[in-house]
Symmetry: C3
Subunit: 130 residues, 3 copies
Amino acid sequence: MPHFTIEYSANLDARVDFDRLCRTIHKTILDTGLFEIGAIRVRTIRCADYAVADLLPENGFIDMAFRIGHGRSDAEKKATGTAIFEAVTQELASLFATPHFALSLEVREIDPDLSWKKNAIHPRLRPKGN
Amino acid sequence: MPHFTIEYSANLDARVDFDRLCRTIHKTILDTGLFEIGAIRVRTIRCADYAVADLLPENGFIDMAFRIGHGRSDAEKKATGTAIFEAVTQELASLFATPHFALSLEVREIDPDLSWKKNAIHPRLRPKGN
Amino acid sequence: MPHFTIEYSANLDARVDFDRLCRTIHKTILDTGLFEIGAIRVRTIRCADYAVADLLPENGFIDMAFRIGHGRSDAEKKATGTAIFEAVTQELASLFATPHFALSLEVREIDPDLSWKKNAIHPRLRPKGN
């Protein structure tokens, strides 16, 4: 945790720089100060087939899910979601200039009693000693 | 919202017309009268590796998830799920004629307090004025 | 149900045998004795774009989700998750030897009132008569 997944319609391949979008979201998550860098995992899932709105071929979507560990307040969760959504909206402004694009984000907390994790990156990035 | 995602084992590529399946589900969602056309996003996710049931190479699956906004009654949610499941079952009747296929659907409501959306398609499709 | 999904960063393609990993997880699920063989569906989802931890190109992740039906106790769910996580950790020991890999697992129960299923594999595998 945290896990950030970006599902998108394949017709956006040529219109969105998804590597850049992943880095924008990564930076926004980090800038909240609520998450440890070694745990951040942002990624895309490309959807080759889709049926969006009135089925015009240029209709496209990006649907984002942010799954986080237990421990942040409701206000922190809302502020984090808002910050990410605003950063993405700004980066994708050209898409919103068309009447063919929809963006969404859902934040969901992972049940601490039913999750497991092992991270070999943390020891490299965490401050040594104290 | 609503978001409809179809995960499937890659061995179904040649046996299912997934573009058609997306459209069938899109139409069934729309026909319930409970969802606005500009918000419907149906899509597929192809799973290249898989291990299904007794591991016969012809074993395949389609697993569907329908994430919807808050506001429909339990009865409406159940009726929507049933309608979609029946439409898909009918379209995939030839697969059920083999002992190698499993279909599933889960409906889940999105938390309105922890979701964000911006849709540039709605203004084009919503009735003008009132 | 049960549904087991493995999301991974594409830079692991050459370092992990995902077909083998699916089979390891499949066997571990079956060995718990809590799930019927005909219902087990393990699969991978490859993420082509990603931004992980401090953005080193070799940083990679595997994030696993296990969605199960209602009916197992909390202790059974915890034991199942632990067994799977240990089996995967052991198989991927070489990745944990690098400071560039993070593994995670979440178990989640599917709402029985809002799920549908039809399985043509069960009749072939279930014991005949009684």
